[in-house]
Symmetry: C2
DNA sequence: ATTCGTGCAAATAGTTTGCAGCAGA
DNA sequence: TCTGCTGCAAACTATTTGCACGAAT
């Protein structure tokens, strides 16, 4: 999605919640749009000077607006990425167990189909309504070997 | 696995690291063997009175010994389960986005095959060596609807 | 005996929040 | 203009650690 349209979309989503699209929120969206992997708070702050509390607060708001998505890896750092609704790329993650790095990985149709089937079975069995999924491949990245 | 053999296995794994199989460690293993879902620290402490610090410390040791495994869901509570090497059940998780509950879900062969293929492709593409994976179905549990 | 584990309390790390001043629609 | 956002600092929560005592080999 072009950068301009991206901001338009974000603006709309925020407006729907009576939230303003302020400079710091725009900053956060820019940073996340510029990268191809989920970013930690410190990475975000390294890219755009911004008080931590504003970063946290705005990421919450952007999360509620469906603009950003929180990724949980294995270390205890939150990572954030643009939501798939905005990035348009359904993907999963590679997670390095040594350094904690997280990289994006494109989804495979076959995997998605198998997953949909498993989700259906799980729902029937346990009265659980599946709305989303998360697939992570764990291992070691090239820097850690 | 029978309870007695389980403790034997745990004892061996701890011994391999020059660690003793003490009463509190045995307690932790028992609690985790008695349940079918990953447990938070507070759930564990509710089941067996034990100082928090001992629980945390021993879960680290049991983790290093490959006896327990830490499960990361979406809230910021660590959850622990018996490792698959000991439980013998390869499984994935259902995670409720409302209450944070985590339940076990048996793995499906088809899903595993599709995943193995995706893992191979990812490794080739990114110089990433895949050693494990994690699949979670997110949604809402029966209690939350 | 000597090494390792325990329990308490204090420390730490990441994240959240109260409040006074500032800015966007 | 008026409601909501910002920035600072203090608060909070989950987890980790230092240290002196106790237990296991």
């Amino acid at each position: 999605m072009a950068r301009k349209q991206l901001h338009e979309q974000v603006g709309l989503r925020l407006a729907a919640l009576d939230q303003r699209y302020t400079t710091s929120r725009r900053s956060l969206v820019e940073v996340l749009a510029d990268t191809d992997r989920p970013m930690t708070i410190s990475e975000i702050l390294a890219a755009r000077a911004l008080p931590q509390s504003s970063a946290y607060r705005n990421l919450v708001v952007l999360g509620e607006a469906g603009v950003v998505h929180r990724v949980v890896a294995t270390d205890d750092l939150s990572r954030f990425e643009l939501s798939e609704a905005l990035s348009g790329r359904h993907h999963h993650h590679l997670i390095c167990g040594v350094c904690g790095m997280v990289a994006d990985m494109d989804a495979s149709p076959r995997l998605e189909r198998a997953l949909a089937e498993a989700a259906k079975a799980a729902g029937e069995g346990a009265g659980f309504e599946v709305t989303d999924h998360r697939i992570d491949l764990m291992g070691s990245c090239s820097d850690c070997r």
